[in-house]
């Protein structure tokens, strides 16, 4: 390297124009080779790692596919997953509230009757084994496919009614077609036509189900003046989608409170605030009444990749190690909702539910009574928020009902 000495000595002399750059022959630093080697090893390791996550994801996708389209784990499992929160694992029902299945006249009538009840649900008084129930059973038409309905109906009729007959998925398909769009069974009175020899069933109370005021109807379907119509976002029947919530079957009081909160700025959402500030009290109540009275099949499906088993645990039992009580301990068994402060959760759109839980956790929504949801949402990790939203989306839609006060039981339940 004697060459360099000559240059550095004359460093202030500019290089000539006809000089062309060239390269010296220093060795490749060993470090570069080591780095290359290490990166090669790392890259290979990463390939293997990604290969395994690839198979995990493929597996999950295949499992989803199976869960969505193929046979489930049998009637007993379906019963535990779909029926037992109300009818109890042993089918005895809940006194004064949920009719028993064990030895009930309807289970004895065979799987076809059971399937028809499952497909349509019940709204109205029904007498089972000498007890009268003000029945509000959701329709499972959207929550279960033909095969599942067939298995479940056969299981229920067999276990609780002693029926020998079983139902096939094709028969369920026929029943589904036959009953499509006919709404829920109007109590035992209507079911009496289906099951011969049923004891006298209570009469349906007169339903003063007049359509909404024309002004309200306009508002819902056409919008007014400066606001878009409700239906244009929430769907004609209030089913909702993605982060737009399902409104059908939420209690009237809850919808009224939320709209008022939007109007007053106590719940933030630019679009709803914009809409709500144009609404009068009369309109708010009219809209709320309309949606509270709607009975619509669920359009929600688990979509957030949540762990359904974990979600079910949180919904049914809570996770007290996080200080989180069961969702159902306030929102009612099956997530039907309680009063004006605890909205129905069943069949709610999962993206909406998860986004609301996240909003509470992040302090962007804070109109929950006593800050109950704020505290609970903060305690739930992100994966749990998704899990519980997905689980609730898998439940059948809430039967649309007006809420009844405890007064009924107080009065001795004579109307039961």
């Amino acid at each position: 390297m004697t060459r360099t000495s000559k240059q550095t000595a004359s460093r202030n002399v500019k290089p000539g124009e006809d000089f062309e750059p060239w390269e010296s022959h220093n060795r490749v630093p060993l470090l570069v080779i080591w780095i290359a080697l290490a990166l090669g090893v790392w890259g290979t390791a990463l390939l293997f790692q990604d290969q395994s996550s690839y198979s995990v994801a493929q597996g999950e996708r295949a499992a989803d596919e199976v869960a969505a389209h193929d046979a489930p784990e049998g009637g007993a499992a379906l019963f535990l997953a779909n029926c037992s929160t109300c009818h109890q694992p042993n089918g005895v029902g809940v006194r004064l509230a949920v009719p028993p299945l064990q030895d009930s006249e309807f289970a004895k009538a065979g799987p076809e009757v059971v399937a028809q009840i499952m497909l349509r649900g019940i709204d109205g008084p029904i007498r089972v084994k000498g007890f009268t129930f003000d029945g509000h059973m959701p329709s499972f038409a959207a929550a279960l496919d033909d095969d599942e309905v067939a298995q479940l109906a056969s299981y229920v009729a067999g276990r609780f009614g002693g029926a020998d007959a079983t139902l096939g998925r094709d028969q369920v398909g026929e029943l589904r077609d036959a009953h499509a769009g006919s709404g829920s069974w109007q109590g035992g009175a209507e079911l009496a036509g289906l099951v011969p020899g049923l004891p006298t069933q209570p009469a349906m109370p007169a339903m003063a189900q007049a359509g909404p005021d024309p002004a309200i109807s306009d508002l819902i379907f056409a919008g007014k003046g400066d606001v878009w119509s409700c239906a244009s976002c929430h769907g004609g029947l209030g089913q909702g989608a993605e982060s737009t919530p399902r409104l059908a079957g939420l209690s009237q009081g809850y919808i009224v409170k939320q709209l008022r909160d939007f109007r007053a700025g106590e719940r933030q959402n630019e679009q709803m605030s914009f809409v709500a500030k144009e609404l009068s009290d009369f309109e708010i109540e009219g809209v709320a009444t309309y949606y509270a009275g709607l009975r619509v099949d669920s359009t929600a499906r688990p979509a957030l990749g949540g762990d359904l088993a974990r979600g079910e645990r949180i919904a049914l039992q809570g996770d007290w190690s996080l200080g989180v009580p069961a969702c159902f301990s306030c929102h009612g068994p099956s997530g039907f909702g309680v009063g004006a402060d605890f909205p129905a959760l069943a069949a709610q759109q999962p993206a909406y539910l998860a986004s609301q839980l996240a909003a509470w956790a992040g302090g962007h929504r804070n109109n929950s009574p006593l800050g109950l949801m704020d505290r609970i949402s903060r305690a739930l990790p992100e994966s749990d928020r998704r899990a519980v939203a997905d689980y609730l989306a898998s439940l059948p839609a809430v039967p649309a009902v007006e809420q009844k006060a405890m007064a009924r039981i107080e009065g001795g339940g004579d109307e039961l």
Binding site: V94, R95, L96, D103, L322, G323, L372, A405, E410
Partner: protein, 348 residues
Amino acid sequence: MSSEHQEDAGQGRSAKRLILAAGGGLALVALGALALESGWVPGWISGRETVENMTQSDYFQPPSDADIPDSPFGEAVKRGRDIFMNTSTNAGEYVGNGLACSNCHLDGGRQPLSAPMWAAWTRYPMYRKKNDQINTMEDRVMGCFTFSMNAQHSVAGGPPPHGSDVYRDLESYFYWLATGAPTNVPMDGNGFGKVAKTDLGYSPERGAGVFAANCAVCHGPDGHGQTDANGRIVFPPLWGPNSYNWGAGMARIDTAAAFVKNNMPLSQPGKLSDQDAWDVAAFVNSHERPKDARQGDMTIEETRQRFHDGDQIYYGQKVDGVLLGVGTPDPERPVGAPELPVGPTPLE
């Protein structure tokens, strides 16, 4: 290279240092990123999972439901758990009001300071002043049915008789919950805890405000609880004919205050101040409820002297000029009795 160092050692060194420092810095960043990528250090994806840890690890940890053995014993534990969670259904003929065991013993009897069953199990048999005798667990549970569940008003007209399967199943559940718990040692978290006495004492008038602000949203402004669409009780009634009777421990203001302080509002224990807990307990327990099961033919005053002497309870006292302890009027027929003359009982 060496010749260069000799010639311009200073410049060579500083250049080398510069390159090494910059290169080292970049290498560190790169290494960190690679480590993160390979999952050797926790990243933001897993970081999103971490939440404030609220585990009550100081307390005894009962086993989880998934661990219930698959055996005849496990079956009994499950039945017991079902009775515990849904008493009015699974032991319905002995329940005379709208309550279940799990209304006071939260999280299926697991929650510390809400009288957890794993702590209770190891304390029996014990002497209880309440009935001045040694009580077995069965005696104690019978007391719960009698007072808290107001069994007198039930279909059966009283608590399950001694030896009933209801006790067997419940005790199996308790025994299982206490798996691994030390025997004959008072455990942390047993009972409802205590609330320190406050200078102001307690007052139902102040309590009314606390109730309206913190309790009414669930238990209803009238304290009668709330039901779901099917009429199923979701929030238990706190007074009135469907609540616990005057003989229940919860009717005592200090017990109720401790329960409220340590468990209410649900999921927000400790939210209320000691004073608020006392006041709201006083407010709740200043309402009429089913009469004390032990009263029999005695007058209220006699009952009070015999059973409530020295207790912090409004039984036999006048609040707002109304004597408490008379009991709510019995509904015309017992809760849950069939409308038709005879019907099969839901159990069995």
